[in-house]
Symmetry: none
Subunit: 219 residues, 4 copies
DNA sequence: AATGAATGAGCTTTCATTCAT
DNA sequence: GATGAATGAAAGCTCATTCAT
């Protein structure tokens, strides 16, 4: 049912209403999902109501239950959509840098602090969902998938780095530490968007890496 | 239902109903606040209703509006209460260790991973509140106060360490990094309480510290 | 929860609002139940909405869910109330006539065709409920109890009559026949209230009885 | 899902989709009507929705408003269809027995208790409709027509019997009594399909007839 | 001070109906 | 003629808040 990997810049792009019935349907679906992200990130899950979503999406009340059978399903499918988006971004990042694995690691970190990923809308959405996971357990897979994929990618990159550097390190500790840091910085950015310094945050992550790979990462 | 490792105050201790009017009032107040923590951590802010709090606290419906003028005020005052509790715990930690500052730093970190602080009830409560800060801005001070106090304490300790070690380090980066990590590990623990390994998490934080203070912290 | 045998002509009588809180609550409860009977009998179960009930009862919207937790519960408790009312009427009938059992049998039949029992409100209510029993199975007990009690009373009376008359008859067939007839006449009355002739219907029932007890009932 | 003992017409028989445009239209129409009977008898009028009918009939959503202009019209035309079906069954019964009128009377009664007529689908449908007649007065004619035709047929048969027997009886009372009984037994069967005994019910009707025509009907 | 019945705005969801394709 | 996406009024229900007792 939900296997509709919506392309952000295709026929269903939001700015222009498409012509064919099928495309209009997908376009409406995407409008609602995008509006849901807006509303969740702005008001939190507690403040996310159908009324706010339909107003933001500028569609009729009943449309939510036409495209998604319930509010819960809407949230779940929006989480799915956001998970795919995040995965795609990182996949692109990993493909771009095809030379050294250390550059790929850096690129992953830079990406997580880029404006595309680290913005109030995206971060607000994920934090809202994650902290409500106990009462909406269906979203857990999407929350977890996102983490697990990332962790796996990083682990592989660091294994490569370890081989290259001919060193032995506790890679899992490094990866867990990075991920905890990234998570923590996301929260910091969410609470203090004005004061947050992306470059400084990146430096701190690199500082951590230098503890395990001093020859690879400069303090 | 939920484990409650947080210790209550003296007069207002929950187990026995006090005699004097004033004490009864404080006792009721505390019962409601404790119940609110339970409900918020279990159901999230979206699932926190007066009915659930009243049922959990075993008090009459109207009492909430007698002690707290509104649901929002209840949440804010509960946040305040939790903030104080957290501050007190760290104050106690810092007073206990009166010898070396490195031990105090370690004690702070250990404390943040202790069962008293890192449990589903406490973490669930804070995450729920923080991710809703945009729509309940009045709680921001308590969220921030908690962070700022902690950051300040750590900064002072590291300055001391820097002087002792006769080294120059970017202390703020270290502290920001630690705090991001702690935040991130809290989230990790919240989402995966079974798999989470407190000792390993502590090791990773120490690993990070060893990057800046290799002579003080063993990898 | 539902053990509230409301007395029709007591403190909770509908015409005057009582003074004490407890009595007001019971008075509101009764108002809603009476309004439910009105609405169900007038619009059928398909047309029975909370809005219509609260309008008819002249109470606030939320009150239904204060007194009855859901619409279904309201219908079930109204069925219970009506079942008790019907049972009480027949009990009174049976107590009044303390002489001959043949008079008691007749009194039962007369009662079922009296204006107190056979009116559009009562009949409309029961028919609506009975024909919806498949989709609201919780009302089955009240529908059935009403029937079973009646059948039992009649069986006992006819057993007595059999002994008195020193005859042997298939009493169960007689009772089943009477009950089917009464049911059918209720329906006939419901569909054609103007043309329906109570006296004639009674005569027809008596005619049926005369087939088994010719000496007791005149054709 | 539900047993469908009612036989369909020739051209519009449901099993094979016809070829010509006109026949396809009639075929669709019949599919919807049959589905409506299923849904009404299973869920009652309160639970009869276009969605359920459409799903049961396996036709497109909009088709209902193509063939029938509204839900009400669909119900009315389904009532009409069912009325015709019932009438046809009795006509067949009356034609078959071309010898004695007493046999025709018996055949009418047997027919009303046959599995073709007395099944949960047919009875459920009629009871649902009848008890909603106040809020859907347009179906009254079909409900009544069914009754009136039957009453008329029976009256004529009994007049014949009266002449044959050379007796004078109150025929209308007999007919009204029979019809009330049949109605009541239908209800009894609807509520207790497992316990209901068709043969016993027939015996009880015959017992009633023996009160007026003792020489014709054996007790 | 404490109670809990009462209120009504606002929530999610259902649904008959419309209409462009 | 057939389709099914779209509509929005109305349904049942939840809930923070009020207030007479």
């Amino acid at each position: 049912m939900t296997n509709k990997p919506i392309k952000k810049h295709s026929i269903t792009h939001l700015s222009t209403k498409p012509k064919t019935r099928e495309d209009i349907k997908a376009w409406h679906r995407l409008k609602i999902i995008e509006a849901t992200i807006d509303v969740v990130s702005e008001y939190g899950l507690a403040g996310t109501t159908i009324s706010r979503v339909v107003e933001e999406a500028n569609v009729s009340r009943g449309m939510i239950n036409v495209h998604f059978s319930s509010k819960n399903r809407l949230l779940i499918e929006t989480a799915e959509y956001m998970g795919e988006l995040y995965t795609n971004i990182r996949k692109t990042v990993l493909l771009k840098q095809n030379d050294k694995c250390i550059d790929k690691i850096k690129a992953c970190i830079y990406s997580d602090f880029s404006e595309e990923v680290l913005n109030q809308r995206v971060v607000g959405f994920w934090l809202a969902l994650r902290s409500q996971v106990k009462s909406l357990p269906e979203i857990m897979p999407y929350v977890d998938t996102r983490d697990n994929f990332f962790k796996n990618d990083l682990l592989n990159l660091f294994k490569e780095l370890e081989t290259e550097a001919n060193e032995i390190n506790n890679i899992e500790m490094v990866v867990d530490g990075i991920m905890a840091m990234l998570e923590g910085f996301w929260f910091d950015y969410y609470l203090h968007p004005e004061e947050f310094d992306r470059a400084k945050a990146i430096d701190i992550v690199i500082l951590f890496l230098s503890a395990s790979f001093p020859s690879q990462f400069n303090k």
